[in-house]
């Protein structure tokens, strides 16, 4: 019951955030130079045609009126149409989001499943060869730009070795390499976070208490250490997932995956404002929901978190 109430409350709180985002974005976009009507009609449109379209789009209204009209549409689920393709923004987004979510989820899950155990093991075996090795790998992956890693992996695994397809999104095989490239950064931060957090936990008094009870080292680490050490890492997973959705822009470009990142990049390049706005708003909503899930997991693991307050 508390959970349902909490979820309801958080979802309600998401609404003003989304409204705020639309507001900020709309006014940033209003600063944008250039004439949308001209953009839509192309270079050889006559002045009359442009004027007629401006009238139709409400571009001559005060900006606040334009914003309210936009929001009225949003409430009805109408995020407008692309200035370039003329397609419905929501439809375009829904068409592409599965691809983006697939690589982002694969990347995050893989990075978490590998990175956290590695970080914990590094902390338990501090100063060991494994620990140093893990830290070097984490440092390298943390410093490498995803686009460079992507191109290099593409050349090595697709063009030279021919193990995996280089571009496209036809089957799951196409998503393996993009997910690895996208997850590299998360993997690095998982190793580092889990290690730091675990080192911190191992120093705690309650770990000493567990040892004083006669618990063997394995049990001390697994039962008393890991669960406590995971709490800050779980929060980081949420942040990393948001980062992965942002990072998908680069990955999708390199591997030619028709996802939200590509949609956004093309819209930014052609100044297709309705698509940019819609995409950013939807992604913000998804990230908000992911954060809610992360907070719920945290509350489940850590009894000190009180959802009611």
């Amino acid at each position: 019951m508390t959970y349902l109430k909490y979820i309801g409350k958080r979802l309600l709180l998401l609404i003003p955030v989304i409204v705020g985002i639309t507001f900020v974005l709309y006014f940033i976009m209003a600063l944008s130079p250039g004439n949308p009507a001209q953009l839509i009609l192309g270079a050889d449109a006559t002045a009359e045609q442009i004027q007629a379209l401006e009238e139709e789009m409400g571009l001559n209204d005060p900006i606040i009126v334009q914003y309210l009209n936009y929001m009225l549409g949003v409430i009805r689920g109408d995020f407008g149409t692309s200035w370039v393709s003329g397609y419905n923004v929501l439809g375009e987004f829904i068409l592409r989001i599965p691809n983006t979510l697939l690589i982002a989820v694969l990347a995050t899950v893989g990075a978490v499943a590998l990175g956290i155990p590695m970080g914990i093991y590094s902390a338990v075996k501090q100063y060991s060869l494994f620990d140093y090795g893990g830290m070097v790998v984490a440092m390298l992956l943390f410093s490498v730009p995803a686009f460079w890693l992507g191109i290099m992996c593409q050349i090595l695994f697709c063009l030279i070795l021919g193990w995996l397809p280089a571009a496209g999104d036809e089957s799951l095989r196409y998503f393996i390499l993009p997910s690895i490239v996208l997850g590299a950064n998360t993997f690095a931060s998982m190793i580092r976070m889990a290690r730091t957090s675990m080192l911190d936990v191992i120093k705690q008094d309650y770990i000493r208490t567990a040892r004083a009870k006669g618990a063997p080292e394995r049990r001390v680490i697994m039962r008393h250490g890991v669960r406590n050490g995971l709490i800050p890492v779980i929060t980081q997973i949420g942040i990393s997932f948001a980062g992965a959705v942002g990072g998908a822009i680069v990955t999708e470009t390199i591997f030619a995956i028709n996802g939200v990142g590509m949609l956004l990049l093309n819209a930014v390049k052609s100044r297709d404002i309705p698509v940019v706005m819609g995409t950013v708003i939807f992604v913000a909503a998804i990230v908000g929901i992911i954060n809610l899930v992360v907070d719920l997991i945290c509350a489940k693991v850590d009894p000190r978190i009180d959802l009611a307050s």
Partner: protein
């Protein structure tokens, strides 16, 4: 217990800043980072002394795809342009653009976060609501939205990235101020009759600015990556202006056959980011020795 005693009675009396510097200097990786970064900065800044800017876009069709040699230390690209000149001058944008971004984001973040933390109450609520709102958007997307509005250009890119980073700085600064305001040692210093300036210099700054500087440094690394990523995507900097990301983007198809076209600019980015990260980690340990393992 006795361990801590030994630390606090260390024989050399140092000021808070001196101690931080001392601990930082003892960190070998951090010092390596400083050396690498300083060397890169010098090479980039002094570029006009040994490579003329003309070579950046001078085409030389007879000498295309030259592998690194005496005449072209980094080789040439498909248009026969000197990669050395392009990489060195590209560093101005990739490296110093990153620094400029951080400086802008840092200053504005300090003002917003400082105001929120210092005034508290309504100011805090309003400012933090806005910050939370911006933080709901992944920063890469926020930056791209701003670029859509502003258009292409180096400074526009820097502003877009800076704005997308402000929320994080504001958060860190506010958190620092809030925790410090009520610290007992600050109270104690007040009771001794220390002046406000003394309190700020001796107690608040060394203890409070630590996390801020550390996050600024670590964010600088990510910003250098962001700038080159944007360049790679064709946003912000446009060809033929060199930038490490655009250089890789231009040569995308040819890297397979001429690896130096990808390896050299890639190595520059990695080296710069890693140096910055080493410094950031070193600063974190120096400011807060408790986190040192």
């Amino acid at each position: 217990m006795s361990k801590r005693n030994a630390k606090s009675t260390a024989p050399h009396e140092r000021s808070a800043w001196g101690l931080i510097l001392f601990r930082f200097q003892k960190n070998k990786l951090a010092m390596l980072g400083v050396v690498i970064l300083a060397a890169m900065a010098l090479v980039i800044l002094l570029a006009p002394l040994y490579v003329s800017y003309d070579r950046v876009s001078a085409l030389d069709v007879l000498n295309k795809f030259v592998t690194p040699c005496k005449e072209f230390p980094f080789g040439t690209d498909e248009l026969g342009r000197d990669l050395f000149a392009r990489v060195i001058y590209g560093g101005r944008i990739s490296l110093f653009g990153g620094i400029a971004t951080i400086v802008i984001a840092f200053s504005i973040g300090c003002i917003i976060g400082g105001a929120a933390g210092y005034f508290g109450g309504k100011v805090d609520t309003v400012l933090m609501r806005m910050i939370d709102m911006l933080m709901a958007i992944p920063s890469a997307l926020l930056a791209m939205a701003i670029i859509t509005a502003l258009g292409n250009g180096i400074w526009k890119l820097i502003i877009a990235l800076a704005i997308s980073e402000i929320p994080r700085f504001a958060r860190v600064v506010r958190a620092s101020i809030l925790t410090l305001r009520n610290q007992e040692y600050v109270e104690a210093a007040k009771c001794y009759g220390s002046s406000s300036l003394q309190i700020i210099m001796r107690h608040i700054l060394p203890n409070g600015i630590g996390p801020i500087i550390v996050s600024a440094t670590l964010m600088l690394g990510q910003t250098i990556i962001s700038i080159s990523s944007m360049g790679f995507l064709g946003l912000g900097v446009e060809s033929p202006t060199p930038e490490w990301g655009t250089i890789i983007s231009e040569n995308k198809i040819n890297i397979r056959y001429y690896p130096h076209l990808g390896l050299i600019p890639g190595a520059c980015i990695m080296l710069a980011v890693m140096a910055v990260n080493f410094i950031g980690d070193g600063l974190r340990d120096a400011f807060d020795p408790r986190t040192k393992n």
